[in-house]
């Protein structure tokens, strides 16, 4: 057996790391809900595991999403992650070839060059030497980029990067040093014994000529081992915890396990999978109105430390722009809501004053929503459109609405929200309708996610498009120049991007914008935030409006009454909901028809 005292730090570090990981993962596993545990056991031995492994390869090793965002950043991550793994695999294979035994000590491949110099008689040794040198070179380039990134983050498309804690620093400096030290150690030893491949061999020759490598190589091997030890010890308490945890998370996610309303085991896996890459910082609109400290990365960091930071939890638009770019796919909004739940006082009996009156029968229910009641033009247009299409509908909240419950849910008052859901659901079902149409994306989202209705729930943009396609209403194109603002809850929240656009391209000239669809801005009026002052919100709104005005639209269109109301406070441009535009278009079409009749 090969042994030298310098392997002790490495072994200590590695055992410590394994122990901590087992302890933490076991703790989080116990914290998983029963339903999640059941799912895990059900799927772990199924085809889903193959899909999970594929995703792990693409995301945790190749870092495909980061590549798409920025090539250099992607290369940096992929070279270190994939390079290191291949180095471990190749090293292990090489060791087994050398010793021609199946089992070896975990440190053997790591320090192989120190122990084995005589390579003649070993099959394809030259090939392995080449591969190992090549992988080392790839990793060294990756590390070089990482060091460079520390000082020049703009090259990687990041304006702001994250602030680090002490364990992060230890882990980072040790990872920076591990591979250069390995390179030096292997080169020195190669120089001593005149071995090595194109990289270590050449460097070894050079070093042997100018340095006393016989004396230097041993301490450098020690240094290499100590750096590995430090990295392993710091890893579970630093951002590098994401390396093993992301693998576990991808697995769990493929089994359909997601954070849902309570902060539990899966949430722990999620928050520990964040490498604090900082990609989420620049996209956040709150940067422009206050100091940057609530963005996803900072919020997740504080959750990871088990803090209950009220401002980080409540000062966020829940716009989802950060979630949209997160390469790990962490569901930041859902996690933020679980944090809010820990901080508010919930009361499921709060709405017992709502009594159930009788509901009329109808084919379609129109539920305007609270915000639509603040924009009367939207609801009157909707009613008019439904009349024009001869729909047998019931305006469920005509005399003032009972809230859909989503704002309470966003505030973390889950029980209270669900009690409203129950009350509304009962009313909706009593009507015997087949379709529920709402004008408010906030309502639409909760209808889809929490109401579990046996009937279809549609946003009015979807329903209007259906009416058009079924030729129940006819539109005429006004050729007016229109830009369309994607509301957060409808776009990123529910994935509805195309229906509103299709309607608008039939009624007007739709001009595409740079930041649209899943990159669209938040109007600033979001009910997700509880902390911004009126001035700060208005600043956000004005910035967004300014960008729209650069396209000189005649109408700024949106599909959310809250966005409309928010923009209308500051915009000089005409701000209209899709429903209003459609109504105008129907009326115009009617006038033209009449003219044609008269002429005939």
């Amino acid at each position: 057996m090969n042994f030298d005292p310098f392997v002790i730090p490495f072994l200590t570090g590695l055992s410590f790391l394994c122990a901590v990981l087992i302890f933490k993962y076991a703790k989080w596993f116990i914290k998983l809900s029963r339903e999640h545990k059941f799912k895990l056991l059900k799927w772990i031995f199924s085809h889903k595991i193959i899909l999970a492994l594929k995703e792990i390869f693409l995301e945790s090793l190749l870092h495909r999403k980061i590549f798409r965002r920025n090539f250099v950043l992607g290369y940096m991550h992929a070279s270190i992650a994939l390079g290191w793994l291949l180095l471990i695999i190749a090293g292990n294979l090489e060791t087994k070839l050398h010793s021609s035994k199946f089992f070896n000590m975990p440190y053997d491949p790591v320090f192989l060059k120190f122990f084995v110099h005589e390579r003649s008689g070993i099959p394809i040794a030259a090939f392995y030497t080449f591969v190992m040198d090549f992988l080392l070179l790839i990793i060294l380039i990756g590390i070089g980029l990482a060091v460079f990134k520390r000082f020049r983050s703009m090259l990687f498309g990041l304006k702001r990067t994250t602030r680090l804690k002490s364990f992060d620093k230890i882990a980072r400096y040790s990872i920076w040093l591990i591979f250069p030290l390995r390179f030096l150690a292997e080169s020195f030893t190669s120089g001593q014994y005149n071995t090595g491949g194109f990289l270590t061999g050449t460097a070894g020759h050079f070093f042997a000529a100018v340095l006393p490598v016989d004396y230097l190589s041993y301490p450098v091997w020690w240094g290499y081992s100590i750096m590995l030890c430090m990295f392993f010890i710091a890893l579970p308490f630093s951002r590098y915890m994401h390396i093993p945890t992301e693998v576990a998370l991808i697995m769990l996610r493929n089994f359909g396990i997601k954070t849902n309303k309570i902060y539990d085991g899966i949430t722990e896996f999620e928050v520990n999978s964040c490498p604090r890459c900082g990609i989420c910082i620049d996209v956040c609109q709150l940067n422009e109105v206050q100091a940057s400290d609530i963005q996803a990365v900072y919020f997740i960091q504080s959750s990871r430390e088990n803090k209950k930071d009220e401002r980080k939890a409540f000062n966020c638009l829940l716009c989802g722009r950060c979630e949209n770019v997160c390469p790990v796919g962490i569901e930041v909004n859902a996690i933020r809501i679980t944090k809010r739940k820990q901080l508010v006082f919930d009361n499921k009996n709060a709405f017992n004053f709502l009594t159930n009156g009788s509901t009329e029968k109808a084919d379609v229910i129109y539920y305007a929503g609270c915000m639509t009641h603040l924009t009367p033009a939207v609801k009157s247009s909707m009613c008019r459109i439904l009349d024009e299409a001869n729909v047998n509908y019931l305006f469920l909240d005509k005399d003032g609405s009972v809230c859909c419950g989503r704002p309470l849910l966003m505030a973390g008052k889950i029980e209270a929200a669900l009690s409203l859901v129950e009350k509304n659901k009962k009313k909706i079902l009593e009507s015997g309708a087949k379709t529920l149409v709402t004008s408010c994306p906030i309502c639409y989202k909760i209808f889809r996610e929490e109401y579990k209705l046996p009937i279809e729930a549609l946003h009015h943009s979807q329903y209007i498009l259906r009416l058009v396609r079924e030729k129940k209403i006819t539109l005429s194109n006004s050729q007016q120049c229109v830009v369309y603002h994607d509301p957060c809850e409808l776009g990123r929240g529910c994935g509805i991007y195309d229906e509103p656009r299709e309607i608008l391209s039939r009624t007007s000239q739709l001009v595409p914008m740079k930041n649209e669809k899943n990159n669209s801005w938040c109007c600033g009026g979001s009910l997700g935030d509880f902390k911004l002052s009126a001035e700060q919100k208005s600043e956000i709104t004005r910035d967004v409006l300014m960008e729209f005005m650069a396209y000189s639209p005649e109408i700024i269109a949106t599909a959310c009454p809250l966005c409309k109301k928010t923009f209308a406070k500051y915009g000089n441009a005409k701000i209209q909901d899709i429903a209003e535009i459609v109504l105008a278009s129907i009326l115009k079409e009617k006038v033209t028809e009449k003219k044609v009749e008269v002429l005939q």
Partner: protein, 113 residues
Amino acid sequence: MKDFGYTINKDRQINFDRTDKWIYEYLKKHEPSFKLCIGCGTCTATCSSGNFTDFNLRRLFTLIHRGYKLDMKDEITKCMLCGKCIMVCPRGVNTRNIILKINEVIENRKRKK
């Protein structure tokens, strides 16, 4: 007692020491926009809950300003946080956060007792 033909009125002073401004102080500290409320009542006119009960945000805010001791616990949870009030308030009062804060301060005090 000598009868002078008239008596002294009972003391009719209002005892200002009894006003209890702890909720006001708490809100002022944690949501400064509370001070901006002018009691116009726009929030109450639009309130979703007010549509079904006598829940009245303006009244609540005014009474807290004046330091009345109220049993607000069952009152404040009637709010659905729907956000209509904050959209219409002419003074930019962050009503939804104030409502959460009132809830918080009441529950916290209840716990301490």
